[in-house]
């Protein structure tokens, strides 16, 4: 009897603690989402407000024949895939490297924290001016010192895409590095000793022993980095604004420009819905992948 009373009492207490946060989350995330879905069925053109009204699926139909939409979709895939792969490969390599040096791991950790804590918009501005500017930017100074030509890193369409990928990779590889390093440091050293006695070479040791052991950490990194890459905005916005033309206009940038530069909020909302659908699908797949293991 008393047990039952305390149990239901506990449930009520738990609800009282949890409900305020739940209400806030429903009001600030779920309700706006419903509103977004509704908006995506509307024509809302702030530059021509007299044309506003219900449009049905017109916005979605329009997407099919909108080359700028397909361009942004392709760029989103390239941007997400390349930044995630680069972060994981460089992050894992660097973590293995740092483990080999007997001293200075603390310094490495501090150096890695620096890019992570900076605001992406500031990182974008920094790269646009001090790092990638033609002739006097750090990269061109390096190239010229090596006797190579300077390049217009953000002005040339193809180089601009490479540049924004590099910026994202620069800022977020430390995340992969730190997580993998933490995972590697927690492994028992005798595993490696045994393999060394077995005369496995470095690559075999990595593939057959290290990689399976750090696999959970690698998967966490992949999941989180994909989510962040899919919502990347500020650094690209600051570095190129999506340009030149639409060369770096990933779906985020396109939805933003459509909504707040061209003031076509209805179409912008339908683009945002596609972005949302992609995010949900990717996270669902990734979590399935983790469970399946």
């Amino acid at each position: 009897m008393t047990v039952a009373v305390t149990a239901s009492h506990e449930r009520r207490f738990a609800l009282a603690l949890f409900l305020p946060a739940l209400v806030v989350l429903v009001l600030t995330t779920t309700a706006p989402l419903v509103y977004l879905a509704w908006t995506s069925l509307m024509r809302i053109d702030l530059s021509m407000p007299f044309l506003s009204g219900f449009a049905g699926v017109a916005n979605y139909v329009k997407m099919g024949s909108d080359p700028r939409f397909w361009n942004s979709l392709v760029l989103t895939v390239i941007y997400t895939a390349s930044t995630v792969v680069l972060q994981v490969v460089i992050g894992v390599s660097l973590a293995l490297l740092v483990l080999r040096i007997p001293k200075g791991q603390g310094v490495a950790r501090v150096a890695a924290i620096l890019p992570i804590v900076l605001a992406p918009v500031v990182v974008g501005l920094f790269w646009r001016t001090l790092v990638l500017a033609p002739d006097v930017g750090l990269v061109d100074v390096g190239l010229r010192a090596l006797g190579l030509d300077s390049r217009n890193w953000l002005g040339d369409p193809q180089l601009a895409l490479v540049s924004v990928i590099a910026i994202h990779t620069w800022q977020w590889t430390p995340f992969a590095f730190l997580v993998i390093l933490a995972s590697l440091s927690s492994l028992p050293p005798d595993v490696f000793e045994a393999a060394r006695i077995d005369r496995a070479n470095a690559w075999q040791r990595f593939v057959h022993i290290t990689l399976p052991l750090i696999r959970p950490a690698v998967i966490v990194v992949i999941i989180m980095r994909m989510m962040v890459a899919l919502s990347a905005f500020a650094a690209i916005f600051a570095a190129t604004g999506g340009g030149p033309g639409t060369a770096t206009e990933i779906l985020n940038l396109y939805a933003y420009r459509t909504s707040f530069s061209e003031l076509n909020l209805g179409y912008g909302a339908s683009l945002a819905m596609v972005l949302l659908a992609i995010t949900v699908a990717v996270s669902f797949l990734l979590f399935r992948l983790r469970r399946a293991r």
Partner: protein, 279 residues
Amino acid sequence: MSRRPLRTAAWAILTALLLAVWVVPVAWGLLTSLKTERDVLAYPPRVIFEPTLANYRDVLFGSASILPNLASSLIVTIAATAATMLFAIPAAYALARLDLPGKRSSGFYVLATQMLPPVGLIIPYYLILQKLGGLDTYAGLSTIYLTFSLPFAIWLMVSYFEDIPREMEEAALLDRAGRLRALWHVILPQARGGIAVTTIFVFLNAWNEFLFAVVLGGNRVRPVTVAMYNFISVEQTLWAKLAAGAMVAMAPVILLGLLAQRHIVKGLTVGAVKGGGRT
């Protein structure tokens, strides 16, 4: 490894070179902020020059001072952080320790809200705040900041509450202290460290936010991230001042990041480690 000192040294040098890729741009920004604009554009770049604090004087006290923007950032960030912790701490405790009905789905819901891309939400926020008269207000922007900080804070706090030994609260409950008193007098003091770390990360994320600030802010509410962006649009070539402004704007987060450096891996991977729904 110590058997081959030469090889170890080679690895160390390689590692240092790779790490330099992260440090050099920031160090370069610091150097640039101490140069005159003429020295900035010199080729070959000057590493030795007469340092000046004129840029800092300008960005802080000149005609386009960023002090009002720093104040703006501070108000939004503190308001958002305080509200976040107020809602997150009780909710996280319920998720971590109590018999909350629908715990699994509640936890998953919180995690799912964390994954929403901000660009997907900015359009409804803009339209809703416009209708409510909340554009360019501190209340409006700080409330919107809850959307990304609250799920994050809840999950991080859950992991800290789970680290507290159960015996502590059981003892308090046997004492007939009542659940609320047990939470207040026993659990919260135990979770102090976790609360501090969570507060730092929430503050850091809110301070660095840009998209919501640029769309939902305005002349009155203009955080420093937006001010930096506007600066480069207006003053295309004044890089030394940009660098000085960036150094000032980023000083708080760099300090907080270093302060919380031992906890940063946990802070960064929260949520994904557990992978949603708990039993």
